[in-house]
């Protein structure tokens, strides 16, 4: 696949990002609406394509106005004629019972009608309300009636509203009705499409990547993100927020994810074959698995800082960005580092520029102070956090073993080395065997704790490990760990242990990715020095010192 094809592919995958299943289902159902007069579908496929495009790209402003004029015209004609009983809604009659969905029926309906403010001359329906002229072409009616069909499904009572509001055939009421339609549509799409601003940012990134694709075809890397920021931040006039490096990093990571999810949606819809021939367009199963599992990664961990307190506020702040970036964590590790370290610095700078009282000096001060940490210090902080969190896990283990709970065994899996874990499991099996008739595991667990003292005497390693766990609990002075909790309160401890283990696994893999890149050697130091120079220069330009 060429870079250009890849770009097109990404762009169409992007179109599917954030479109709710309900909206897609509705569009499909509209497409298949049966006609009451003919055996075919009610709407022409081309009209439905236009409609889907208009809705998904939020390009419906002018359609609302055209539709309002058309409805006003229909109401005007229907109210003028006698053969329509007042009880029946003219719009229902015209668009549903008579199915005015193509140019032919439009011509039939408006033929021979000449009113003071409405004339059909064969090629255009010419309206003039309050002296303002508006023309409607018969060829538009297919699209507009499909649009109306879409609207009646999402705005309750819209037909009755139209008949009330548009009856006076004035420009003011037509425009007001069009505005109301837009507002209702906007409200509806809020929960069925991704935010327009997000979409604009994604489109911007996508276009920029397309322009770059000639130069590099290796996909998005840390370098791409940095280059993007360097080029775009200076020229960011659109207010897309690309001045902040952190915003850029977050957007790229969502972009990577959005494209991946869009592609997997497309793959589902069009049955892309799954396999290893990436060149011929197949999706590799690992990739899919990755997307699907990472999709649910919006893990809420803030409660870990509550009661009981598994992590401190600072620790949570340190790991939250890493947990929230999904697949970008593996693809863009350096970007994540940069966003953490230089992002903090930039935040301080922005704060200083807003602080007008102190003037430029405070900005200069902040610039000269530089950033607080370098990469190795940051990673060292993360490693330290891993260590501390491991102690919390050990303290949890002590709680479970003291209260003789079965959770001990699952918690042991997070704390013990594999070899030690196996010994514990063997002991449990042995206890299980001692129960007559191989009874339930609850009994085996009870038996295990009865024999634990003896088991510890026989097994020095387990004894040591449990002593460490006891010490970890004794030295932990945080809320929830000062005293032994009640058995009834244990579920949150168990859940905390599991969540913590999940977080730690992610951070460990992140450390494994990044540590080799910025290791404590010449290359690692060079990378930081180079980044520091780049960011320093950019900040100088951005904040005009």
């Amino acid at each position: 696949m060429t870079a250009h094809q890849q770009g097109l592919n990404d762009s169409s995958a992007l179109a599917l990002h954030g479109v709710s299943d309900e909206l897609l289902g509705m569009l499909t159902a509209l497409r298949e609406t049966p006609s009451m007069l003919t055996p075919n579908d009610k709407f022409a496929p081309s009209d439905m394509n236009d409609l889907s495009q208009a809705i998904i790209c939020r390009n419906y402003g002018h359609s609302c106005l055209r539709l309002s004029y058309l409805l006003a015209a229909v109401i005007l004609v229907a109210n003028g004629s006698d053969n329509n009983s007042k009880r029946q809604s003219p719009l229902l009659q015209v668009f549903w019972f008579d199915e005015m969905v193509n140019a032919k029926r439009f011509r039939e309906f408006f033929a021979d009608i000449e009113l003071a403010n409405l004339v059909f001359d064969g090629s255009f329906l010419k309206l003039s309300f309050d002296g303002e002229a508006f023309d409607i072409s018969p060829t538009q009616v297919g699209y507009l009636s499909a649009f109306l069909e879409f609207l009646v499904n999402i705005i309750p009572g819209v037909l009755a509203k139209a008949e009330q509001q548009l009856a006076d055939s004035s420009v003011k009421s037509v425009k007001q009705f069009a505005t109301d339609l837009q507002a209702s549509l906007y409200h509806f799409l809020k929960s069925h499409l991704s935010e327009a601003q997000d979409m604009r940012r994604f489109r911007f990134i996508s276009t920029w990547l397309d322009e770059q694709s000639a130069a590099d075809s290796g996909g998005i890397t840390d370098g791409t993100v940095l280059r993007f920021w360097q080029q775009v931040a200076i020229a960011d006039e659109d207010g897309l927020g690309f001045k902040r490096f952190r915003t850029v990093a977050e957007n790229f990571s969502s972009y990577v994810q959005a494209v991946a999810i869009g592609q997997s949606k497309k793959a589902l819809n069009y049955c892309v074959s799954i396999g290893y021939e990436v060149e011929s367009g197949e999706l590799s199963p690992e990739h899919l698995e990755h997307i699907i599992s990472d999709n649910d990664d919006g893990l809420d961990i803030q409660w870990l800082g509550g009661n009981p307190k598994f992590l401190s506020k600072q620790q949570l702040a340190l790991i939250t960005p890493i947990l929230h970036v999904g697949i970008a964590r593996d693809k863009l590790p350096l970007t994540l580092l940069r966003a953490s370290i230089f992002g903090d610095w930039q935040a301080q700078l922005i704060q200083a520029t807003r602080n007008k009282g102190k003037g430029k000096n405070s900005v200069i001060d902040k610039l000269q102070q530089g950033c607080e940490l370098d990469y190795q210090q940051y990673l060292a902080n993360l490693s330290k956090l891993l260590n501390d969190a491991q102690k919390v896990q050990a303290a949890l283990l002590h709680i479970f073993v003291s209260l003789e709970q079965g959770e001990f065994f699952s918690q042991a899996a997070f704390v013990f080395e594999q070899a030690v874990l196996e010994q514990v499991q063997q002991q449990l099996e042995a206890c299980h065997g001692q129960i007559e008739g191989h009874g339930m595991y609850e009994l085996a667990i009870e038996q295990f704790f009865k024999q634990l003292a003896a088991f510890k005497l026989q097994n020095r390693v387990v004894n040591e490990q449990l002593a460490i766990a006891q010490k970890a609990f004794a030295t932990n002075n945080r809320v929830g760990f000062k005293d032994m909790p009640l058995v009834d309160d244990l579920p949150i401890y168990r859940f905390g242990g599991e969540t913590l283990a999940h977080c730690l696994a992610i951070i460990t893999s992140f450390l494994q990715k990044t540590q080799p890149i910025v290791a404590d050697n010449q290359i690692g130091n060079d990378i930081f020095a180079a980044d520091l120079a780049i960011f320093n220069a950019m900040f100088n330009k951005l904040y005009e010192v």
């Binding site: 897609l24 289902g25 609406t33 006698d82 329509n84 009646v152 309750p156 799954i274 199963p285």
Partner: protein, 192 residues
């Protein structure tokens, strides 16, 4: 069953199966057609192909019921409101609406069957729009019966063959819910 030839193909199989399952889970949202406005219009006019789905949707979904009532209000040509009088004994055999009458007659041959006879009044047939509507010999008449039972919305529809001489009739079984609803004077009748 054949063993998978290598680890890779077994993983791709697993992912394929997982994706199929995921797709199946989402099916009700995407592939089962939701009941749309046009379906309800067709249902009211007696032309619906997926009548059961629409019936279900109107009973269970408030917004669909709103559309149903709105469409029904705007497309019926005659209405028989709830009857206020109390009839203490015997079965209802006659319902009168504005411009039409419905007679219920138990079949002489089989007590389990009942004729429902629709008779349109002269006055209704003289009306400009309706007479034009009714002179169409292919047009079948749809009777909608709406009401409440235990505070829950209920509705049924009966589709009559095209009118002949201002009359039409059909036969339903005595325990049919539509017949029971017709006999309940608290239910409103609409002709479309």
């Amino acid at each position: 069953m054949k063993e998978p030839s290598n680890a890779k193909s077994s993983l791709s199989e697993q992912v394929f199966v997982a994706l199929q399952a995921k797709k199946a889970l989402r099916q009700p949202l995407t592939n089962t057609k939701p009941v749309m406005f046009a379906d309800i219009v067709a249902y009211v006019m007696g032309k619906s192909e997926n009548a059961d789905d629409v019936h279900q949707a109107i009973n269970s979904d408030l917004s669909k019921r709103y559309i149903y009532k709105e469409v029904l209000n705007q497309s019926r040509f005659a209405v028989g409101l709830r009857e206020a009088h109390a009839k203490s004994t015997g079965e209802i055999e006659l319902r009168r609406g504005q411009g039409f009458t419905i007679k219920l007659k138990t079949s002489r041959a089989n007590a389990q069957q009942c004729y429902v006879i629709l008779v349109l009044d002269e006055t209704l047939l003289d009306g400009n729009k309706t007479s034009q509507l009714l002179s169409d010999t292919d047009k079948s008449i749809v009777l909608h019966i709406c009401g409440e039972f235990n505070h829950e919305h209920r509705h049924q529809r009966l589709q009559f063959p095209p009118l002949f001489d201002g009359k039409s009739q059909l036969m339903i079984t005595a325990d049919d819910e539509r017949l029971l609803m017709l006999k309940d004077i608290n239910n409103e009748l609409s002709l479309c």
